[in-house]
Symmetry: C2
Subunit: 313 residues, 2 copies
């Protein structure tokens, strides 16, 4: 029997990733299964348990534990989801205890961006940083924190929510119901909204790349910008500067050594990173901003990897 394997489970609204990793973050196996949120948490726990057992059988190893990453308001102390918009039936269900009961091994539940922070810290930074902010850029903007080399999830497991930093009073509507949060500009729906706004009445490569405006997505806006389109470049500059403002606030407050951008939208690379750096360079305080390196993560699936790695802690 091989030993030293952690299992990470990243639970999305549609698909759930199950990943077996070594202590250094090497991925041994990964599989995807439907989440089926409408079938409820008991069904989910049963199918995750099966998947974990199958992974272990294939690898000839028993895992040291299972980390479960979930988008939403997670109570990591009690091992349950307080509220998740995509998994309504899971609310308040004792996920950790149910899964631990099925599998007879330790289970840890955390917000997915918190898990991604741990994955980024171990895999991307090789633990060679002390204080790290990970900004998880997908549909929304989440985040997680490593403080003093340890995962920090805050007093109720809610820490790291940089996406709800207010950057424009009364500004664009955020999915949370408030206005002017940075995710309403730099989350994928915010980027699409900016693109539609900036496109109005203007000629742009975007119209050719995506004749149906309801199908716009950040990847296309990045492609157009990469080919020099002025409207698309303006979108990234606006999204990146707004993100830069939120990161500047976080650097003033937390004074991290690294800010790591992860997730689909971060694939835009320099299109999003350059305006962030621009805003940080504009700050009159030099010391914390010189100390904070802002980078884009190269590894995909940091949430699942981090969940698997947390099983070793």
């Amino acid at each position: 029997m091989r030993s030293g394997i952690g299992i990470g489970v990243d639970t999305g609204g549609t698909f759930t990733k199950v990943m077996a990793v070594l202590r250094d973050g090497t991925i041994l196996r990964e599989r995807q299964m439907p989440t089926r949120p409408d079938a409820g948490p008991r069904d989910f726990v049963r199918r995750v348990s099966e998947a974990v057992r199958q992974e272990e059988a294939e690898l000839g190893a028993r895992s040291v534990g299972v980390g479960l990453a979930i988008a939403g308001d997670v109570d990591s102390d009690r091992g349950l989801v307080r509220f998740s918009p995509n998994l309504r039936k899971f609310d308040r269900y004792p996920l950790r205890d149910a899964l631990a009961g099925e599998l007879r091994r330790p289970v840890f539940v955390e917000n997915d961006a918190t898990m991604a922070a741990w994955g980024g810290f171990v895999v991307e930074l090789r633990r060679r940083a002390k204080n790290v902010l990970v900004v998880a850029m997908g549909t929304g903007v989440g985040g997680g924190l490593v403080i003093g080399g340890r995962l920090y999830h805050g007093s109720t497991g809610s820490a790291g929510e940089i996406g709800h930093t207010a950057v424009e009073p009364g500004g664009a509507p955020c999915t949370c119901g408030a206005r002017g949060h940075v995710e309403a500009y730099a989350g994928s729906y915010g980027i699409v909204r900016l693109a539609r706004t900036f496109l109005r009445g203007r000629r742009s490569l975007l119209n050719r790349l995506c004749p149906d405006p309801s199908k716009l997505e950040p990847r296309l806006v990045a492609e157009a910008a990469g080919r020099g389109d002025a409207v698309a470049k303006r979108v990234w500059r606006e999204a990146g500067r707004r993100l830069g403002l939120a990161i500047a606030d976080a650097v003033y407050l937390l004074n991290p050594d690294v800010v790591l951008l992860s997730g689909g939208v971060s694939r835009a690379g320099r299109l999003i990173l350059d305006p962030v750096h621009e805003v940080l360079r504009e700050q009159p305080f030099k010391t914390p901003f010189e100390a904070a390196r802002v980078r884009i993560a190269r590894t995909a699936n940091l949430g699942a990897i981090g969940a698997g790695l947390l099983a070793f802690e």
Copy 2:
């Protein structure tokens, strides 16, 4: 000889407080001396050493160490000030090593708001909290963090600077050179600026309490508001709501159990606290905002006390 005494030194631009404290924060003695920044750091170190020796002689006790609190950009690892607007001649001078050499005991140097955070955690909260943000409200707005029951000063000693949270793009000028930072609304100079703006052409009790607008100060604005003056009440509501926005950002990011307001401006009590609570109640996310109690510190001189207490750690 009595034992178990820490000495805290809070270095202001004009006066320096020297305080002898017990491990629980009880103040045994305090004195004030002129800082005399123009005489330079050697002179300052010599006079602080004398003051510390005199305090010890009066108490018949040798201190366990000395904590030195300084407003500015402090390199706590090297024990020096990188930049302090009021103490220009101190920049880069090895304060800690010079003072430790004179006194032959451990010396710790931290930003004054960071020291106040430790003081607030021990004295106000009796360590009965894990994650605490202290907002130090004076001329400017500083701050400090306790994370997991330990003082957190960030990667370069710069953590906690909530005063430079951007709350209004292109807004009021901050002393740092940027615009729209929360301290430009909720620091004492910001409050005075708001009062002058809102006073224009309006009848207000403030005109009677302070016929010379150049002598306006937050204490007078609080007095007028306490007596029902509409202009003064509007000032506190604006300052408090701006502060609430910055605290909301910090709660999303850090998920603390307590936010403690300290310093002169916090003496305004409910005038500043009510609009802060109002903004926090408006946030759509409930869990982190229900967990974070926002309070006003009752103890004065938390910076000096915290500096003395840090000597025990």
